[in-house]
């Protein structure tokens, strides 16, 4: 009877431990910040309470529709365009040995250009409007997608390619059933890199030359020494980055389900 009484505590305790593991350190960190900012008040580091207050005040307002959503919209537009462009060009270049050899040094160069330096350039060319901001994002995001797609298409398994040829897999069907799925782990890796570059470029485009957007707002707060508000902006950017990363991972789990599960299977047998 006593054994039966203690048994239900098992899963409960495990759940509590899990919660402690997940939340323990973040809570400690915030507490530490709080204690520090109260004990040693400085101008630059407001208490978490004040930042939270500024957060609700600043961001739960028209700013969501005027700054946050347009920023996110531009990011997604540019990212999607870069993805299409990168995968399309990547498949074309990756499928031809000669083209690949010819394009490689050029691509190496473009990849090595730090994407943010394109911001002043594109500002010069396209001005300060939405097109420029989307263009900035496209021009930075396209390279990792392109290079990874080329690599993925090149590395399609030889036996698999032969199998496809034997069974008459050609043209669009070959692309859809063979090349793209085979390259998809690489393509997703490229898209992941592109996403973090995209966020950086979104912010920089707005910081550098813009009259709206999250980046612009945060810089305004900083210039006006509105410190809690500025911190709240940093939190918004952090949450955005975290949110996009979660969304990406969910998408990746769906798209690469076969790949991830196969990896686990192999790990088990290894």
């Amino acid at each position: 009877m006593s054994a039966a009484g203690t048994r239900p505590a098992g899963p409960l305790r495990r759940a509590a431990l899990r919660l402690l593991r997940v939340l323990g350190l973040p809570v400690l960190l915030v507490l530490g910040w709080w204690i520090y900012s109260v004990a040693e008040p400085t101008f630059y580091l407001p208490t978490p309470g004040r930042v939270a207050g500024a957060f609700t005040e600043v961001w739960f307002s028209a700013r969501i529709t005027e700054d946050v959503l347009p920023s996110v919209g531009r990011l997604l537009t540019g990212y999607a365009l870069a993805g299409l462009l990168g995968v399309g060009l990547g498949v074309a270049i990756g499928s031809s040995r000669a083209l690949r050899a010819a394009a490689e040094p050029v691509l190496e160069f473009f990849r090595a250009v730090p994407p943010p330096v394109l911001v002043p350039l594109i500002t010069l060319l396209a001005g300060l409007d939405t097109t420029m901001k989307v263009l900035v994002i496209v021009s930075g995001c396209v390279w990792p997608v392109l290079l990874n797609t080329v690599e993925g298409v090149r590395a399609v398994d030889e036996v698999l390619a032969d199998t496809g040829r034997c069974f008459g897999l050609r043209g669009p069907a070959r692309l859809r059933h063979l090349v793209l799925p085979a390259a998809s782990p690489q393509i997703m890796a490229g898209l992941r890199q592109a996403l973090s570059i995209g966020i950086i470029l979104m912010v920089i485009g707005e910081m550098f030359a813009s009259t709206s957007g999250i980046g612009h707002t945060v810089v305004l707060f900083q210039r006006g020494f509105a410190i809690p508000e500025m911190w709240s902006g940093i939190v918004v950017l952090g949450l955005l980055g975290f949110g996009f990363s979660l969304a990406f991972r969910a998408a990746e789990r769906r798209i690469l389900a076969w790949h991830l599960a196969r990896g686990e299977e192999r790990g088990r047998h290894a």
Binding site: R21, V22, L23, G24, L25, P26, L29, Y44, G94, S95, R97, A101, A102, E104, P105, V106, E108, F109, F110, A112, V113, P114, P115, P116, V117, V119, P120, L121, L124, L125, R154, V156, E158, A161, P185, M188, A189, R192, S196, I199, I200, V203, I204, M207, F208, G215, V218, V219, F221, Q222, I227, M230, G233, I234, L237, G238, L240, G241, F242, F244
Partner: protein
């Protein structure tokens, strides 16, 4: 291996590949020359390639440019080194203390995707338009790249090897030195390679946006002065430096890992 001759994935001979590569670069150059000359794009927006190259040559004769480049590379090197040391130390600590990995996982997962540029306002407040700002961004951005790889690396130690080491009563330090570190090293080098590229991007970005001294600041000044050709020349220079950074880091990686028995695939995340 000869069987692969007719396949798109097969390697081609090195001189042929190099020739094609040069051809590709030549094509890029020709297009960049022809497009403005033919008036397809206003030369005020895209100067001909020869003009950009001339401008770049002139820039390279300018001592100020070399000072600026030196500033950028110093921030890059110092920031990268700091980030690597911090990340390796923290990664090994997380591995060594039981329970620490589980306790820190959520925090790392949350902090890692925070875009480093979010710290630009903070850096500006703390350091102003000085090298400190650049360093803060560089260290923050490259730290995560290395840390993640270190964590993958130390987790990859073969459990059988771990138990063997314990059964021979190897001490904590000996285990770290002879077991954990050699296993993790290829991962660490991957992290360093990724971080080196990120560090260079962030160094230039910080200078560009915050205005701390360096290559980025020069680009910003050229842009606000409307010197289009100079902007292009400096961007080309930034790209060349980026290529050099990648090449150097890859060479170092090959050297460091030349003796290493394992050939490991890169961890995607």
């Amino acid at each position: 291996m000869t069987r692969r001759e007719e396949r798109a994935g097969a390697p081609m001979s090195a001189p042929r590949a190099a020739g094609l590569g040069l051809l590709g670069l030549a094509c890029l150059f020709a297009v960049a020359e022809a497009v403005p000359r033919l008036g397809l794009i206003d030369p005020r927006h895209l100067p001909p390639a020869t003009a950009i190259v001339r401008r770049l040559a002139a820039e390279l004769g300018d001592a100020d440019l070399w000072t600026a480049l030196g500033e950028t590379m110093r921030s890059w090197a110092v920031g990268l080194a700091l980030a690597c040391c911090l990340a390796v130390a923290l990664g090994v600590l997380i591995d060594a203390v039981p329970g620490l990995r589980a306790a820190t996982a959520s925090t790392i997962e949350f902090l890692r995707p925070i875009p480093s540029v979010a710290l630009i306002p903070l850096a500006t407040l703390l350091f102003g338009a000085e090298t400190g700002s650049t360093l803060l961004l560089v260290v923050y951005a490259s730290f995560w790249q290395v840390l993640i790889q270190v964590l993958y690396g130390v987790a990859d130690v073969d459990p059988v090897a771990r138990e063997t080491a314990r059964s021979y009563r190897l001490g904590r330090w000996a285990r770290l030195r002879h077991l954990v570190w050699p296993t993790a090293l290829p991962y660490v080098m991957t992290g360093v390679r990724l971080a080196a590229a990120v560090a260079f991007i962030l160094a230039v970005t910080a200078e560009l946006v915050i205005g701390s001294p360096g290559l980025g600041l020069r680009i910003q000044l050229a842009q606000s002065g409307g010197a289009v050709t100079e902007v292009y020349a400096l961007i080309v220079l930034a790209g060349l430096v980026g290529v050099a950074v990648n090449a150097v880091v890859r060479a170092v990686e090959r050297r460091v890992l030349a003796w290493h028995p394992s050939v490991r695939g890169e961890v995607a995340r």
